[in-house]
């Protein structure tokens, strides 16, 4: 064979070798080289003359690029086992949509609303948010990739009971789900509003120099109210994901209501919610205004307490009756 042909094949084999795993390089390259030599010899025998460089180039071109040839020898790798993809997508969805977004919205939006320069703070938060989002996706993906890499098998994947499959959701379930979702959104919005309104606040200043000075009770109930509102919101979120979780839901709802009533009681006991200072009011006028505002807050708190009692009573009644919604009729397979 002419030197140029051997040179071309050698260069081709060298390029293939580059992409192969070290342990298999020599073996694979020797086999490809032998195959190419056999092919060249056969063509030369058929044509009755040696192949020139162009002919060999055509053969090599037909064989495919060195990268393509080498990749056909490499194991077909995947990051995540296709069998695990539905679980991976579900976990990502839960982490990103149901935990990550609300959590970060709370962590970041609160300071954004309370910060003196919300635009600057928002920009900073968005940068952090995306960094955290990429890290979260990366971590979830890494965990699933490792599960696939080490061939972790889920023992209970085949150990399932048809009787324990979740019921087909009926219209009532769908409505309950939306109700809870709405509860979560409103609860979360309420928490954000509470943070923006009351974060390290001791007074409200109005035009004309009038200042509404908050009583010390507001500072005392700031964190309990925030904690309770968020607990309720996240509980609604969980309930929207699992609307059939009724008995547990009732118990937790009663617990939240009891805590709410403790806060209501603390507010009512404190009584003196606000004072007014500044402004051009006479002493009597000022006293009337303070009494009116405190009275309004008093009635609002009482109303909130009554609603809470009704809510707790409903949950208690449900729990005592052991009421469960009737399962939806399963359509018969016709």
């Amino acid at each position: 064979m002419p030197t140029t042909n051997t040179d071309l094949i050698d260069r081709y084999l060298h390029a293939v070798k580059f992409w192969l795993p070290k342990a298999q390089q020599a073996d694979i390259v020797a086999e490809i080289g032998e195959d190419l030599q056999s092919l060249v010899e056969e063509r030369e025998a058929a044509l009755g003359h040696t192949l020139d460089e162009d002919d060999v180039a055509v053969i090599l071109k037909k064989r495919g690029s060195p990268l393509k040839v080498a990749s056909s020898y490499l194991p077909q790798q995947r990051l995540i086992n296709p069998a695990m993809l539905p679980v991976y997508r579900l976990v990502l969805k839960i982490v990103l949509c149901w935990v990550f977004v609300p959590l970060f919205a709370f962590v970041f939006l609160g300071p954004v609303l309370a910060f003196a320069h919300p635009g600057e703070m928002l920009l900073r938060c968005l940068v952090e948010y995306w960094r955290a989002a990429f890290m979260t996706v990366g971590m979830v993906t890494t965990v699933f990739a490792l599960l696939d890499r080490y061939q972790v098998k889920f023992k209970h994947a085949d150990d399932w009971n048809p009787r324990k499959l979740p019921r087909v959701p009926g219209t009532q379930d769908t409505m309950t789900r939306w109700n809870h979702l709405a509860g979560f959104i409103f609860g979360f919005a309420a928490a954000a509003f509470w943070v923006s309104l009351m974060w390290q606040r001791s007074e409200f200043a109005f035009s004309g120099g009038t200042r509404l000075i908050l009583g010390p009770v507001w500072k005392q109930i700031y964190w309990p109210v925030l904690g309770l509102t968020l607990t309720g919101a996240f509980f609604d979120l969980l309930s929207s994901l699992s609307p059939r979780w009724t008995r547990v839901r009732s118990r937790v709802r009663i617990g939240i209501d009891v805590c709410g009533l403790v806060i209501v009681a603390a507010l009512l006991k404190a009584g003196n919610f606000v004072e007014i200072s500044g402004g051009n009011f006479s002493a009597a006028d000022l006293a009337n205004k303070v009494a009116w505002i405190n009275g309004m807050i008093d009635w609002t708190v009482i109303a909130a307490g009554v609603i809470t009692i009704f809510d707790a009573a409903g949950a208690t009644r449900f729990l005592l009756r052991g009421k469960r919604a009737k399962p939806a009729a399963i359509p018969s397979a016709m």
Binding site: E34, D35, S72, Y73
Partner: protein, 131 residues
């Protein structure tokens, strides 16, 4: 144009899937007798089953790593060649695989025969149900 390309790609993918299992059976069956890579490819091609080098050699390595084939480098006609043949495990597995293959082709023939599809030309679309 776009539809033609898409359907062509789809056909290529389906063809690839269809061939994948057939090639394993063909290669194992052919290696009842010892062959080196190039000769095996020629033998399969001569019998109507052309196989790309980039498919055959990785397949041979995979079957060898699964213990179905054994290989040996040996000099022939002044060149080192790698000869493959069925391993004892391959000889044990192949008859079962061929039986499975026969059952599948028989079932497929029945399905195609039952629908009156005797040739590719008749595969233009599903037949209308007879009243």
């Amino acid at each position: 144009m776009h539809t033609n390309t898409a359907s062509s790609e789809l056909f290529d993918n389906l063809r690839l899937e269809l061939r994948r299992g057939c090639l394993v059976v063909a290669v194992l069956a052919q290696l009842y007798t010892e062959h080196y890579g190039y000769a095996l490819r020629k033998a399969l091609g001569d019998q109507g089953l052309a196989i790309d080098e980039n498919t055959l050699y990785p397949l041979l390595r995979r079957l060898e790593s699964q213990g179905l084939l054994v290989s040996q480098w040996r000099e022939e006609e002044k060149r080192n060649k790698r000869f493959y043949r069925l391993s004892p495990l391959g000889e044990e597995v192949l008859p079962d695989l061929l039986e499975e293959w026969r059952q599948m082709t028989a079932a497929l023939e029945r399905i195609l025969g039952g629908r009156g599809i005797a040739s590719a030309a008749e595969c233009g679309g599903p037949r209308k149900e007879e009243k």
